[in-house]
Symmetry: C2
Subunit: 227 residues, 2 copies
């Protein structure tokens, strides 16, 4: 147990955060985060913020996962990224300074426990805590890197490779080798059509990389099949 010169305001919350962030934040910072944040649990497929809605909180994911997406001028949906345990939404951060309206939609992928941090605290803590500063900048960097690798993926890899990677990442994310998802949903995430996905899924199935039933895909162990 860590020595402290204070009593945590909310013991349950403190311990939950400490378990996740002890390497990132000092106890004092964690305590402050607990004191101002709201801990909530959401069911799967719940829209947390939508495009155009005003943003009052920055979400920090404690468990589960969040899908963050946006729309372009033509109404096309663009998958930005998934937030996993310990992560926060970089795009939301801008709202603490400039924009007040969300440009993104965020929804839970699975049941998720989220800590809601009031936006006005974001900047305050950036002045006060080095650890918080680095957490925020680190988030931005992570997202930038993810975007770069998304572009890399799209332009240098075939749809088939992207599909396999997508399925495996999803399995890792959900910690379950059986995915409950439709071909159409996959197609949307990969910016392609249902027919193309069905065609490739058939092929993956023939190659024993997956097994599938309606709305249900079992991703089989990856042996060294790749080049």
């Amino acid at each position: 147990m860590i020595e402290r010169d204070f009593i945590p305001a909310d013991k349950a919350c403190f311990e939950k955060l400490e378990a996740k962030f002890s390497a990132v934040f000092e106890p004092k910072t964690i305590d402050e985060i607990c004191r101002h944040g709201h801990l909530k649990t959401y069911v799967a497929d719940k829209i947390l913020v939508d495009i155009g809605s005003s943003i009052k909180y920055m979400p920090v994911v404690l468990s589960g996962s969040i899908k963050v997406m946006t729309e372009d001028g033509n109404g096309n949906e663009l998958l930005l990224y998934y937030l996993e345990s310990g992560e926060t939404c970089a795009v939301t951060l801008n709202c603490c300074t400039v924009e007040k309206k969300s440009t993104v939609r965020a929804l839970t992928e699975t049941e998720s426990e989220i800590l809601l941090v009031p936006v006005e605290k974001i900047e305050e803590w950036m002045i006060k805590y080095q650890s918080w500063r680095r957490y925020i900048l680190g988030s931005y960097n992570q997202r930038l890197n993810e975007m770069v690798s998304a572009i890399d993926n799209i332009v240098f890899h075939s749809l088939e490779k992207r599909l396999i990677r997508y399925l495996r990442e999803k399995v890792a994310l959900k910690k379950n080798s059986v995915l409950v998802i439709s071909h159409q949903d996959i197609a949307d995430d990969l910016y392609t059509t249902r027919v193309s996905i069905s065609r490739l899924m058939r092929k993956l199935e023939a190659n024993k990389l997956i097994e599938q039933q309606r709305n249900r895909i079992a991703v089989l162990e990856e042996e060294k099949h790749e080049a």
Copy 2:
């Protein structure tokens, strides 16, 4: 002239920055930036930082433009973005905290005047100046948005549309409707092949959207040709 309770350490630098950033930074901040930054002018096509090199300065572009790129695991080049006047390199920012080695290559596109800010000042000023904090977070946001629109562009638009947009953006960037560039360079930036670009350039030329000679492309006025 703005009232001040101090004498700028470097009058020439101060006035140059004030002309560009008077709406962004207070005079006091500008003065401090001048005092610690180094003003340099580089010729075109000069590599400022390369992948793997250690980063000591964050560049702020005063004039000209910088191309920022990276490489993926397979040695493929990925164009990240262009820095224009007033902008800074978000990716470099991470180096002030975590990484010390650059993951990107930055090179001048045209002759450019750059202010080099020592990395250790980045964090210091984030604590001291709200304007600096917002400038930094704003940079990140701008880059994230650009990445998103790059993805959008790639997945929802034909190569032909991307090519036209690329040429027009380049013209706006360089403030010159005649571009000195080879088909191969364009192909690299758009992640395609020289042959495809040549093919499309022929078509654009037939449609009177451009005129070209070896290494030289004149982008003609855009009238309402688009859908």
